[in-house]
Assembly symmetry: C2
Homo-oligomer: 290 residues x 2
């Protein structure tokens, strides 16, 4: 059962003559006659009685009309929704973000929600490895990730971030030159590696670069907790400088000026699966992230 036939049936039922129905459907009358005949062949029943003054539904036709009208309406709505989806006037945007974009993601998403209120946005906090996998399988439309990204994904850089020493106020970290020695004396609170593989790797890499292996006194499940423990003098921590935004009052962050302490944060997406909603989102980055 074709939408075309359905539409023809409904329109013809509402029109006084075949000719009028054909005009409304923007086809010629013979084409409409053929469609009606095809319908009647399908139903095995005459649906219209052709008279001198046009055509009227038979009893059999009348029993089908209500259902056909409803179906036609729903199909039109579906079409309409498809068009809006294509135009990006409606839709859903599934985004991911992680520790590396604590600062960026919420503000950008807020701006997007403001600009495109018809598009619903889901923002999931996920480890970057999961984000990449979901971008590949299409479960995410885009994600804020640590750069660079695998070559099959596309990405634009948004901001640089760097590691910082988080310590309770009064516990002053030294300059970079003596940081390694200082860290040997100050045990670390750190994020559980499984909760932030990317960040953990970044920290480990930098520490290795500095040539120090500080003691780990505690692991926590999220940055907020790490910072809270730091404020409680349990130890110091190495966190993204952008975590300033979520740091409790008793904690100070001092950026580290070391070779591998810096990285780039960007927005990544799967060029093989860009949605209309995503196409509405991307322009925001050029203006907002530069």
């Amino acid at each position: 059962m074709d939408h075309r036939l359905l539409r023809t049936f409904v329109t013809t039922a509402q029109s006084p003559t075949f000719g009028a129905a054909a005009a409304r459907l923007r086809i010629t009358q013979p084409a409409l006659t053929k469609q009606v005949q095809q319908l009647e062949r399908l139903a095995g029943t005459v649906l219209f009685v052709r008279g001198r003054r046009g055509a009227r539904l038979t009893a059999a036709g009348r029993t089908l009309l209500a259902e056909a009208t409803e179906l036609d309406r729903r199909l039109r709505e579906f079409d309409h929704r498809l068009r809006r989806l294509a135009a990006g006037e409606e839709g859903h945007l599934a985004l991911g973000f992680g520790l590396s974009s604590i600062e960026l993601a919420p503000s950008l998403v807020a701006r997007f929600r403001d600009r495109c209120p018809e598009i619903t946005v889901a923002l999931d906090d996920l480890p970057s490895s999961v984000q990449v996998e979901r971008l590949r399988t299409g479960r995410l439309d885009g994600a804020f990730v640590r750069m660079p990204v695998p070559p099959d994904l596309e990405a634009i850089p948004l901001a640089r971030d760097r590691l910082a020493i988080a310590s309770a106020r009064g516990v002053e970290p030294p300059g970079t030159g003596v940081l390694a020695a200082w860290l040997e004396d100050h045990p670390l609170v750190r994020l559980r590696p499984a909760r932030g593989p990317g960040l953990t790797a970044q920290v480990d890499g930098m520490l290795e670069e500095l040539g120090c292996r500080p003691e780990i006194v505690q692991e926590a499940d999220d940055l907020q907790t790490v910072l809270a423990l730091t404020a409680a003098h349990l130890g110091v921590a190495v966190v993204p400088a952008s975590a300033e935004r979520i740091a409790p009052p008793g904690v100070q962050l001092v950026a580290i000026d070391a070779p591998r302490a810096e990285w780039e944060v960007g927005f990544a997406w799967n060029p093989a699966a860009t949605s209309g909603a995503l196409r509405r989102f991307l322009p925001l980055l050029d203006r907002g992230g530069a």
Copy 2:
């Protein structure tokens, strides 16, 4: 939006690979690929992420799937209903009957309901002129009518009926020879002409043939009332002999043996508008009406 594309979308979403979906749809994989591409062009969005191990829905595709599935299901149901309608396994039969078929119609319809319980039957009591008009405009599938019928309708004869004198028991009508004179002395109760134009014409014709113009003492709106008034000795009546079936105990019917007292009752339908349900009904007449 074509049902074909809808079906393809839903099936592909439920299949691990394009090849599997194509097999389920009984088409080849290139054909399916083209349909999916067409869909994605319509939606302006990639709907499936093609990977090494098949294709999976994107987030955008997932938002469409529920609605598409529902629409697909309803379209299938509509198809199914059309097929059942065509096969006459389901449907609706709008029949008309009148005074001339008081006896025939109910029993035949009861037999049909018994045999084809899936087909709903509407039985309307209508003047024969209205019946013919509704047969022409397709509002009735068939009707029990006084024969003959206009040439654009088809009909098969079912039974003969004849006029009868209805009188209260004890009031014995004479033989046909002296009926005219007897009637001059016995005022008539009759059906209001508008309620049974055919029957009235038949009665008037016969009376004219007999050369008598009896007095009308009362008109009533239906045969039951006519017979009841007859039982109450208000007068006698000329009614179809088949009205025996609905006559109250105090009334006797004596058939009239006069030239224009007899007519044929048949079943008529519009050959230009025969429905599947009607095709199931017609065979009953050959066996049941002969």
